[in-house]
């Protein structure tokens, strides 16, 4: 058991004695479950988050014989803590923890909207996932009694409906952007409120692309749900399918062959590299630096073609399978892929050098869209966005999987938290990914690429990965015949969209698209 976790368990025992049921989970003793009464929740969660500096992973709500709420926290060295509380099916009121653990804010709003649970003390519930202008009151699609296969009768469209405004001063002005805006962008609506030059409020309205994936997964076969996992976010498909695979493999006690683990790292880093290059292209484009944007776009297409010619699919669909991968790759082909990746990485370094010498470009990024360390922590930001603000938690290091603990790489960190810090971080992470790709292909273990047959067991487990955008957590509960009973998808974009307004507010209108680009957030990954 990691020292961090042992110390934590001792303190919890001393503090709450018999009021909290402590149990250690997993053969390696790296997960601790704390069962408590709903009334104890805020205190325990606050203690983990504020005193012990655990990161808030997410909230999993399950409707079984009674309500089961699971708050997942993780530390910095291979340790998970799940705070679990129960309430009879008849009740639906829980104390809100978001006053103390602000990172849980959106999780509670989502659970309120989709399950109809009430979080007492939460300041802002309603009109979140289910848009109030579309959905009738009282529809709770995630409850077991709701049939997710049938269409729902909605309100008649109200063409005069407008989202609530926050700034109501005389002369205040709200600029609506979206949900169909710009050229080829994902659907999201921003109401930019201002009294002059600066954006005062920039709360995004999301979930236009809400496809109800958690609901439609229920009752399906686990390997069909894997296809859904790939399509949570097409640009992070491999990461999400890997998270689900690892959850199922943990549940079914499957050890993935070494070759499969190495190939998974190879593909995951290839995807991260492509994601970051696309983000860099987005930043260049947002500042109007067309030549740089074209160069970055060439590199993105190069990486798509490398993925496509090696695996058959440009977005790495159809590769992950329970127990390994769906197909093997020739070592020589992987080597050629890695060589091509190295060429891309070289060109990326040149591009970075040229960008850092373009002062008109830097002027648009430096000291723009700042997220402080304290804000990043309070809002539970993850991934490159958090690391650009000095919060350097990376699940590949903190909770290693796929043999990442045996791979040498750095987790870059910046401290300024502005647009330029985020851009530098993207470049540095891309470089690390390219290095991992080339190191891993030099030394691919021989052997099987998959365990032939995975015996699906009943029960639940958590799978996690550091997706390109940050921590992704997948909670999977399997029932009879390998059917999915509950699939909870916690994505990095969900965490980071929550904090996006921190960066956008109090900056000028013309900075808005640039700040948006430096966040490189996925709407689809958020909406699910």
């Amino acid at each position: 058991m990691p020292a961090e976790l042992r110390e934590l368990v001792q303190e919890a025992q001393a503090r709450w004695t018999s009021r909290v049921g402590l149990s250690l989970d997993g053969a390696d003793g790296t997960a601790c479950q704390m069962e408590c009464e709903p009334s104890e929740l805020p205190e325990i969660c606050n203690w983990l988050f504020s005193d012990r500096h655990y990161s808030f992973g997410g909230l999993v709500v399950e409707q079984r014989t009674r309500w089961e709420l699971r708050y997942a926290f993780y530390g910095s060295e291979a340790s998970w803590v799940h705070v679990v509380t129960y309430l009879s099916d008849a009740g639906d009121r829980f104390p809100s923890i978001s006053g103390l653990v602000h990172a849980a804010d959106w999780h509670e709003r989502e659970a309120e909207d989709l399950f109809g649970l009430v979080f007492e003390g939460h300041p802002r519930l309603g009109d979140f996932v289910l848009h109030n202008d579309v959905w009738q009151d009282g529809v709770t699609p995630m409850r077991k009694t709701f049939d997710g296969r049938k269409p729902v009768t909605h309100r008649a469209p109200d063409l005069n409906w407008k989202p609530r405004r926050i700034v109501e001063e005389t002369g205040a002005f709200a600029m609506p952007v979206g949900p169909v805006h710009s050229t080829a962008t994902a659907p999201v609506y921003f109401q930019l409120e201002t009294v002059g030059e600066d954006v005062i409020r920039a709360q995004p309205r999301l979930f236009y692309a809400y496809r109800g994936l958690e609901k439609i997964a229920e009752g399906r076969r686990a390997d069909d749900v894997l296809l859904i996992a790939e399509r949570i976010s097409g640009t992070s498909a491999f990461a999400h399918s890997l998270a689900l695979c690892q959850g199922v493999e943990r549940l079914c006690h499957v050890e993935v062959p070494q070759r499969a683990a190495s190939l998974r790292v190879f593909l995951a880093e290839l995807e991260r590299l492509r994601h970051h290059v696309a983000a860099i292209a987005g930043v260049c484009e947002s500042t109007g630096l067309a030549v740089a944007a074209a160069h970055a776009a060439i590199l993105e297409e190069d990486l798509l073609r490398i993925s496509g010619s090696l695996t058959g699919h440009r977005y790495l669909f159809g590769l992950n399978a329970f127990g390994g991968l769906s197909t093997d790759f020739d070592d020589a082909a992987c080597g050629r892929g890695a060589a091509a990746v190295a060429q891309v990485a070289e060109k990326l370094t040149v591009l970075q050098g040229m960008l850092s010498a373009s002062s008109s470009f830097l002027d648009r990024l430096e000291e723009v869209g700042i997220v402080s360390f304290a804000n990043a922590r309070d809002f539970g930001l993850v991934g490159p966005i958090a690391r650009a603000s000095g919060l350097s938690r990376d699940l590949r290091k903190a909770q290693p999987y796929c043999g990442y603990d045996a791979i040498k790489f750095e987790v870059p960190q910046e401290s300024e938290g502005d647009g330029y810090a985020r851009l530098r971080l993207l470049f540095r992470e891309a470089e690390q990914s390219a290095r991992i790709v080339s190191a891993i292909t030099r030394d691919l273990p021989a052997g099987r690429f998959r365990i032939p047959e995975t015996d699906l067991r009943q029960g639940a487990a958590l799978g996690w990965v550091e997706a390109p955008g940050g921590a992704a957590l997948h909670w999977i509960r399997l029932g009879e015949e390998g059917r999915v009973e509950r699939y909870r998808i916690i994505t990095p974009s969900f965490a980071n969209w929550h904090g996006f307004r921190l960066a956008a507010e109090s900056f000028a209108f013309q900075d808005f698209p640039i700040i948006l680009a430096t966040f490189a957030l996925s709407v689809h990954e958020n909406d699910r």
């Binding site: 848009h131 579309v134 709701f146 049939d147 997710g148 296969r149 049938k150 269409p151 909605h154 169909v180 710009s182 050229t183 080829a184 962008t185 994902a186 659907p187 979930f207 236009y208 692309a209 809400y210 496809r211 109800g212 609901k215 439609i216 069909d224 296809l227 859904i228 399509r231 976010s233 097409g234 498909a237 696309a278 630096l289 030549v291 074209a294 160069h295 776009a297 060439i298 993105e300 297409e301 798509l304 073609r305 490398i306 993925s307 496509g308 010619s309 058959g312 699919h313 440009r314 977005y315 669909f317 159809g318 197909t327 040149v350 040229m354 373009s358 008109s360 689809h524 990954e525 909406d527």
Partner: protein, 256 residues
């Protein structure tokens, strides 16, 4: 700033020569399964591998409905008797008989065409492939295609995604705001049939019931060249898949 000019010139021309010449670079398309001759026993077991009912037993073996196919590769990787798989990217078919009767845009549209892209709730992959059309490799400006942010300037509506309940009204408003004549191109299995999302409490299972779709582009996601072919079909500058052989080697078993 001269460094950018020099760098740009040094990079040279990257653009594909499609549609004049077939594009053969590796990794530009995932390909699609094609009708395969198999004994009826083997055909039955192969059909069961498909998670989206894209495969159907036929007299000679297995037929494919490309509107459904999501490139999961299960009909080639999870079996000893795989489906035949074919490269290429000229997959677009006419969805409405408007096209087959030969109705085209008026002469005013034969040159530049402005395209509004609406993401009606996809996974982001289709949208990303649409974005690639503006990168130097595909550079669709050279063909007179331009993306526009406003429906008022749009001639073609390019829709991706399975159509979520939340996007119905924005999509309808965008379509209604476009001047006539207009065309609708639906790209990706989700926009055509709902794909893996299917029909549910949140997804309409495609945009066809909701908008008069003219051209359908299969794929999950369709690669940039397939989307480009779809746009060329929509403005009458390319024949549909299977209608006769263009330079890209159209899929011979197009479902349309």
């Amino acid at each position: 700033m001269s460094q950018w000019v020099i760098r740009g010139l040094r990079t040279g021309v990257k653009s594909t020569r499609y549609p004049r010449v077939e594009e053969t670079a590796a990794g530009t398309s995932p390909g699609l399964p094609v009708s395969t001759a198999l004994s009826s026993d083997l055909a039955q077991s192969l059909v069961a591998h498909c998670p989206v009912d894209a495969l159907h037993p036929s007299i000679t073996g297995v037929d494919v409905s490309l509107r459904q196919c999501i490139h999961c590769f299960r009909c080639v990787r999870a079996t000893n008797n795989p489906m035949d798989w074919k490269g290429g990217y000229e997959w677009a078919t006419a969805a409405s008989d408007r096209n087959e009767k030969g109705t085209r845009f008026g002469p005013a549209f034969s040159r530049s065409v402005h395209i509004l892209v609406v993401d009606a709730g996809d996974c982001g992959a289709c949208l990303n492939e649409v974005k690639q059309l503006n990168n130097p490799y595909y550079n669709m400006h050279r063909l007179g295609f331009f993306l526009t942010p406003t429906p008022r300037h749009a001639d073609v509506l390019l829709v991706v995604g399975a159509l979520t309940d939340h996007m119905r009204l924005p999509l309808r408003k965008a379509y209604d705001a476009m001047p006539t004549p207009k065309r609708v191109v639906a790209a990706g299995a989700c926009a055509l049939s709902g794909g893996i999302f299917g029909q549910s409490f949140m997804c309409a299972g495609g945009v066809g019931e909701f908008l008069p779709v003219d051209v359908e582009v299969p794929g999950n996601p369709p690669p940039p060249l397939a989307i480009l072919h779809g746009l060329l079909v929509a403005v009458g500058r390319k024949p549909t898949a299977g209608s006769h052989h263009g330079p890209g080697g159209p899929a011979e078993n197009g479902s349309g």
